[in-house]
């Protein structure tokens, strides 16, 4: 017995003596399958780099920002973290500058232009894009067939908002779907309507907010009416009900969310689903976003961190990684990549992305948006509760936005 202990102790000490470098990676979770895929790639990296052990800290998405804030405030940042657009703007001041490790122009040139504003703070490169996301609408094919509604399948016959509303009314009354539309409870998803109406959050100068506009009013009023008329179940924006549950269980005919759901919905067995091009108002637009990997100044292994980031976003790794996860790679050379049975759905997202104006990405790469997310959302909720008019909400958001922009400068 004692011998066993001693042996264990020896092994532990020996392990410590020949200590490998340990690369700490903070990775937020989307789903268990996705976690298993990442574990596989981590093993590949370790096999290719025998001196390095990668230790992954999986964090629930809701607590990602907070975990990173704690680690940064405690001066113990991780080597690498996977982040979303809001985080990369917030952690810009402590980001590891990748420009020291690559030739900036040829590095940036590998990625889609829409992702560059997020990572390029001249002359620094503060992260690398893992994939591109686009907001979009999933729909329950069975319910639409049942109601006898033909859904546009390509960009030539995109619905207008009025046609979209009419379809909601018909599908709700003539199919087994109890609800017309599920809608993610985020400012980001609401903004899909804002951009389609021709509006934007921040004006071209970048110094003032621009949401208190006729376009903003059009978008918010249209949205509020969708609740008033019962097309969107109230619980999703008023009591934290999970919209995806309602869609996956076949009770909601449409779901406003984004392309990242494709992998998860591939498990749906109880109905057929598809993706429709986003309905247009003044213009056609989606909201591009993405996930990124970034390193941190003052982490233990900055060089190794840069190496891991470059590896994960290289052509050889990123394309198969994106395919395994059924997400859109942010690399230009991923163009024409096939995903098998979901190519139709993915083509719709790509088509929406191709017509999206560039200021949409600029809006969301501005660090104030991370601060204002919750604020804007709760002002919208007050409209839904009937506590204020859409116009009042826009004025409040405008004022707060201007204030935050001023504070930032």
């Amino acid at each position: 017995m004692r011998k066993a202990w001693l042996a264990a102790l020896f092994v532990a000490l020996a392990g410590a003596a020949f200590a490998q470098r340990t690369l700490q990676v903070v990775w937020f979770t989307e789903s268990p399958t996705e976690q298993a895929i990442f574990d596989r790639y981590v093993k590949m990296y370790e096999a290719a780099n025998p001196g390095t052990k990668v230790e992954v800290t999986y964090v629930p998405f809701q607590q990602l920002t907070q975990k990173l804030q704690l680690m940064v405030a405690g001066n113990t940042p991780p080597d690498v973290a996977r982040v979303v657009t809001a985080n990369i703007a917030e952690f810009d001041p402590v980001a590891l500058d990748l420009a020291a490790y690559v030739d900036p122009s040829s590095f940036l040139n590998q990625f889609l232009p829409s992702q560059i504003p997020y990572i390029y703070r001249k002359p620094r490169i503060i992260g690398a894009p893992l994939d591109v996301t686009a907001n979009g609408i999933f729909y329950n094919k069975d319910c639409f067939d049942e109601a006898g509604i033909r859904v546009p399948t390509n960009s030539l016959q995109v619905w207008t908002w009025e046609q979209w509303r009419e379809a909601m009314d018909r599908v709700r009354n003539n199919s087994r779907c109890r609800f017309a539309l599920s809608y993610d409870f985020t400012t980001h998803r609401f903004s899909t309507l804002l951009y389609a109406a021709g509006g934007r959050f921040i004006d071209p100068s970048g110094k003032r907010f621009a949401i208190d506009s006729p376009e903003g009013l059009r978008a918010l009023s249209f949205f509020a009416d969708l609740f008033k008329d019962g097309f969107i179940p109230k619980g999703q924006w008023l009591s934290n009900d999970d919209p995806s549950t309602l869609f996956r269980s076949g009770q909601s005919a449409m779901y406003m969310s984004g392309n990242w759901n494709v992998a998860q919905f591939s498990q749906v067995r109880n109905f057929n689903w598809g993706v429709m091009p986003l309905p247009r108002d003044k213009i056609r637009s989606t909201v591009p976003g993405g996930k990124f990997v970034m390193g941190f100044k003052g982490s233990k292994n900055p060089n190794e961190a840069a190496k891991f980031i470059l590896w994960l976003t290289s052509k050889e790794i990123n394309l198969p990684f994106s395919k395994d996860n059924m997400v859109l790679s942010a690399r230009k050379d991923a163009k024409g990549m096939k995903y098998g049975q979901f190519d139709d759905a993915i083509a719709v997202f790509l088509s929406d992305l191709s017509v999206t104006p560039s200021y949409v990405g600029q809006d969301w790469s501005n660090p104030v948006m991370a601060r204002l997310n919750t604020f804007i959302r709760s002002e919208i909720v007050k409209v839904l509760l009937g506590q204020q008019s859409p116009k009042q909400a826009l004025e409040t958001i405008q004022a707060e936005g201007d204030k935050q922009l001023r504070l930032l400068r």
Partner: protein, 276 residues
């Protein structure tokens, strides 16, 4: 005749309170029943009470999430160690506060109270700094030691020890017992019911704790069940079936500990020892 009637009213009373308790437990019963339903049945309208096609699939999924055995062991180790430490340190403090008069007693009592007045969530950053400086980050001891000094535990025990008559202590002193001896041989044995109560509370708190592990732990080998459970709520959507099953699984050890110790604190046993 009279005896019969008495028995009947007692039976009726028992049936009534048990019925009320069951009604009270509806949310829990619902969770347990739902955990055996296949995904499609979870969202049926109208919902089914008993699972129509009971399945263990959710449990299989839950048990294969990450390293379930590791999480369970970590949670168990943390809850047990932390509870043992709490029993010792809290009872010592409670004894001092209940049975000695000394300068600063009021102040220390208030200080103890004060420590539960700040929710951990709002002092996370400084806590993290302290733990980092002590080298306790990403260590199980970092979630065992700090929460062990539960103020609530001190109060419960103090309240109980107050009711132990001073004469017993005095006569022990006259017989030459040391202060430690009094604590160890008289106070502790007499406080068993209160200690059992605290053991259950403390085990529950540590087992269900999310906030301390979240601050302290970052590596997968040291993650606890609650950390793993929280991860089932993904960025987009919740895997309800697995979450419900995992919830029921994490409940089981608690239930066992509770049933093992419950006779101490839910029975009349407590009355005997302390009657003045």
């Amino acid at each position: 005749m009279n005896k019969n009637r008495k028995r009947r009213t007692r039976f009726a009373r028992d049936a009534l309170v048990v019925g009320l308790a069951l009604l009270f437990l509806m949310p829990v019963i619902w969770v347990v029943l739902s955990s055996f339903k296949p995904d499609a049945e979870l969202y049926l309208v109208p919902p089914t009470l008993l699972p129509r096609e009971p399945t263990l699939a959710n449990y299989q999924n839950a048990l294969t999430v990450g390293h379930f055995a590791t999480y369970t062991w970590n949670s168990f180790f943390v809850a047990t160690m932390s509870t043992l430490i709490a029993l010792l340190t809290n009872s010592m403090a409670a004894f001092a506060l209940a049975k000695y008069r000394f300068v600063g007693r009021q102040a220390l009592f208030l200080l103890t109270l004060a420590t539960i007045m700040i929710p951990l969530q709002v002092i996370m950053v400084p806590i993290f700094l302290v733990l980092r400086n002590l080298g306790l980050t990403d260590s199980l001891w970092g979630i065992i030691i700090p929460p062990a000094a539960t103020p609530t535990g001190v109060f419960l025990l103090r309240q109980y020890i107050l009711s132990i008559p001073d004469e017993i202590l005095e006569s022990a002193r006259i017989d030459g017992a040391s202060e430690w001896g009094i604590y160890w041989r008289i106070i502790l044995p007499l406080s068993v019911p209160a200690l059992a109560t605290l053991a259950i509370f403390s085990f529950t708190w540590r087992w269900n704790d999310f906030i301390w592990p979240f601050i302290v732990i970052s590596s997968e080998q040291k993650a606890t069940l609650q950390l793993a459970l929280a991860r089932l709520v993904g960025q987009f959507g919740v895997d309800w079936g697995t979450l419900l099953a995992a919830t029921v699984i994490t409940l089981l050890p608690m239930l066992i500990v509770f049933l093992l110790l419950q006779r101490y604190f839910l029975s009349d046993l407590t009355a005997g020892s302390v009657k003045g």
